[in-house]
Amino acid sequence: MRLAQSFALENDLIQADCIEATEFPDLSSRFRVYAVPKTIINGAASIEGSLPESFFLEEILKTLPAQETGSAGVGDTP
């Protein structure tokens, strides 16, 4: 959770929601949350569990359509 929040603090385009899964069962069920933490990216891709900072960021960047600037090389590997 901490990493998602850190990203949100660094860039206003990023929104980090921390969702208490048991209080929002419909949403949890929609995103097939069976174990936590589980991170959903733009309502589609997901990351299960906790990852170290650089891996978590790479996983997020991989899901984005190619950007015009920055992040050269990111997303090269499947």
Partner: protein
């Protein structure tokens, strides 16, 4: 009866002394049909009483739709951690147990404007030019 135990309140007050700028907790809730709505609000009231730098704003989700939209709040209970214009960090549900520690971390991080990320990550995150919505599902234990 308070939700925060006396000893916990003392420790939290101590931790919040590390705040370097004010943080607003913008809370959206509703009176009826909301599990833990009342407890969540009470917890935030107790928490915000532990630092002069922490201000709690409570909004009625059903009556204040414009405010909810402004803060991007889609469901309740919701708490947005704000400092200046930034409002990208939200908590949905009651931040109890492990999530309470998480909330404290978020408050301190926002107050100190320090994400704690490596220089390399900061650069990559700053280069992102499209909106990203991260929904992290957690449980209190």
């Amino acid at each position: 009866m308070s939700l925060l135990r006396e000893q916990d309140a003392i420790e939290v007050r101590e931790r919040l002394k590390a705040m370097t700028s004010p943080v607003r907790l913008v809370h959206f809730t509703q009176e009826l049909n909301l599990d833990y709505g009342r407890e969540t609000k009470q917890l935030l009231e107790e928490l915000s009483g532990l630092s002069d730098q922490l201000k709690l704003e409570v909004h009625n989700f059903l009556l204040e739709k414009d405010q909810a939209a402004e803060y991007g709040v889609a469901m309740v209970p919701a708490t947005v951690i704000c400092n200046g214009q930034a409002k990208g960090i939200r908590f949905y549900g009651m931040p109890a147990g492990y999530e309470f520690a998480n909330l404290l971390d978020a408050i301190l991080m926002v107050s100190q404007s320090d994400s704690g990320l490596s220089a390399e990550s900061r650069e990559k995150v700053a280069a992102i030019t499209q909106p990203i919505h991260l929904q992290v599902f957690v449980t209190p234990t």
